[in-house]
Amino acid sequence: MAIDIKTKVLGATALALTLAGGAQAQDQDAATRAIEAAREFSGSTITVVAEAGLQALLDKQITGPEFEERTGVKVEIVELPFEEIYPKQILEHQAGSGAYDLMLVAPAWLADTVENGAVVDLQPFIDKYGVPAEDEDINPAFRDYQFYDGKQYGMMVDGDVLVTYYRKDLFEDAEAAAAFKEQYGYDLAPPADYARFGDIACFLTERHAPDIYGAGVINTGYMFLMFSERFRVAGGKFFEPETMRATINDQTAVDVLTQMVEQNACMAPGIETWGFAENLSALNAGQIAMTISWPPLGRWSQGVNIDDEALSWVPPTTVADKVGYAINPGGHPELAVGFMSSVATNSDNKDAAYLYGQWMHSRAQSLKNVMRPVGLRDPFRISHYESPEYQALWPGAKDYLTVLNEGAAQGLADFAWIDTYRYQDAMSRAVIAAISGEDPKEALDALAAEWDALTDEIGVERQRAAYEAWAAKPSAYRDE
């Protein structure tokens, strides 16, 4: 009897401790849980893919060493240039090399990555270590990205959306505003549509060139992003759903591409060769009045935390406090790329890899990451946009974060179906061909023919199912 009582007391104590421990675990945030759980894997090494350059610097210089210090898990970073991330990860998976533990996946690649069997369903890890409540904090546009076929494969770490940056001092100049209104019949303000974007570019170029050009745009690389936003904002659809024939050479598409090409005439000489860096340089140097690009431009043009040695290549800003932020013309900016962490199927250390991903994705750690100058991680959680700490970084930070939040909420998801990468590449090439002198209609006809051939090769029914699944998402077309 005495033994029974003792056993019961011990059992009750154990239960109480377990419940208390469980409650404590429930109270923990995802970052703390990830760190504590990862200590179990102390001494192991995980290999993490990062985009070459600033993205990788965050992991190499800051988060990787910190994770190792706090958990004993060593984080090795493999840097891959953007255009090689998807192919290299798939090739390594197909080769069964187990080269990577934690993969970097853009939302548009998720379907293909999962179909290739390269990444695993995260639910068992979430059940074991996760704090699901934290996912409610993610901007819905990005939260949806993490799932494929009803299962979660990704953890957002970088929320991208294209933003319009404009020079407030030039736009608010009373004399210019009056002249503009007289010439065009509407107010000089961040453009409501892409026709106005062109009007403003030409007006300000006429007024200020060659010192300042009305606009700068990115014309090399990523061109499928720029075109597909403008095409969809104009009402375009990628396929005729019944036949799955490409409709990217219809009149809407031709008009959009022609407009893109023609607007280059009002920009700086050589605009056809501008990429992300040229655009950034020109904005910081005060040489352009308006541009469209990724979120880091907002921070760098303000010069926030830009004294890091790794950012020495970023030209010093001459336009701090002069740059305003707006949602792109048309109101539905492209959610251009973005990144998630996914656990590799061939990883021998899946738990530790997942836990590093969870830590980077967590509310607490991700806020630190999106505020850092290096890392190129952009806000994706509501708590990021509403963070008093972030909003205090510079006088316009609150406006900046509001634009990012609202832009993402109204954003257009990058198109994603089977073999997305090939469709993207074909579109980028066609757009660049037109920008460099080919007739837009001919470039788009060739693109449509290439897309049709790809669709036939993949199988019309198979691609239709994938396309319809993508098109059903609210962020696919944003039909009013």
Binding site: E83, G270, E450
Partner: protein, 306 residues
Amino acid sequence: MSPAAVAGTVAPPRAPSHAGGTRAAGVAYVAPAVFVLVLVGLLPFLWSIWVSFLNLAGSTRSGDFVGLANYQKLLSDTKLWAALGRTFLIMAVALPVQLVLGMLLALHFQAERPGKKLFVALLALPAVISPMVAGSMWRLMFDHRFGPVNQMISAFTEKPVVLLWVVKGSLPFWSIVVAEVWQWTPFMFIILLAAIANVDRDQMQAAALDGAHRRHVFWYVVLPAIRPVLIIAVLIRALDLFRLFDVVWQLTKGGPGNRTETISVYMYIQGFQGFQTSYVAAIVVVLAIVLSSVLMLALRRVRLDR
């Protein structure tokens, strides 16, 4: 003509009793090399042939046997033939220019000149640079704002010139040709310089004493003497140009659009970005067979032993 005669020696008669042992020893000597060649050369090719009959393509295929389907696709692939055409076009322009420039430089430096060794070393420099690096360097050279090419043209014309070398019209094609000629003319130059240095001086002097013009000495004495080396150099360069990838990738990535896509760039995009593994294998098989046949025919016609 027997190999022994080419070497200028006469093989000693072998004793019949030793013939079997000598043959066995010969086989033993070459067997490791043959084994390595088969392992690294033939097996991958045979594997490519097998893969070309399958349906391996990224996430969209099962790897089923599809017979000649990839070869049928190849015949109707207009982008492939366009890429092949562009490759031959670049070859048709760059190769003669490299040959002529290399020959002129070799002839110029055959005589002793002050600083000859230094100049020859400097002229050879581009050929030792990695083609990827050369491509990146030329990308900077052709930059429309900061590149020295536009700056020099502006200086000569005394007005600002903004030529978009890797973007506009036919300029991307010419920028590739320029980079390619810059990098590989030294190869021609070095090979031809060595060949000309070995031409019999007595014959050249005799022809000159007989009143032959320098042009005739070159045409009737030097050229026939260096012909085998010249042809081998041209063949090597032609094959290199056929495989042209690095410079194109760094300069234009095959763009704008597909305007500078060579066959190697096309295969890279199909294989490593599009994961069309079986289709690329089919292209490789066809090209390997065609190129090997052309090379064998060319070598047979050249008769290097003469």
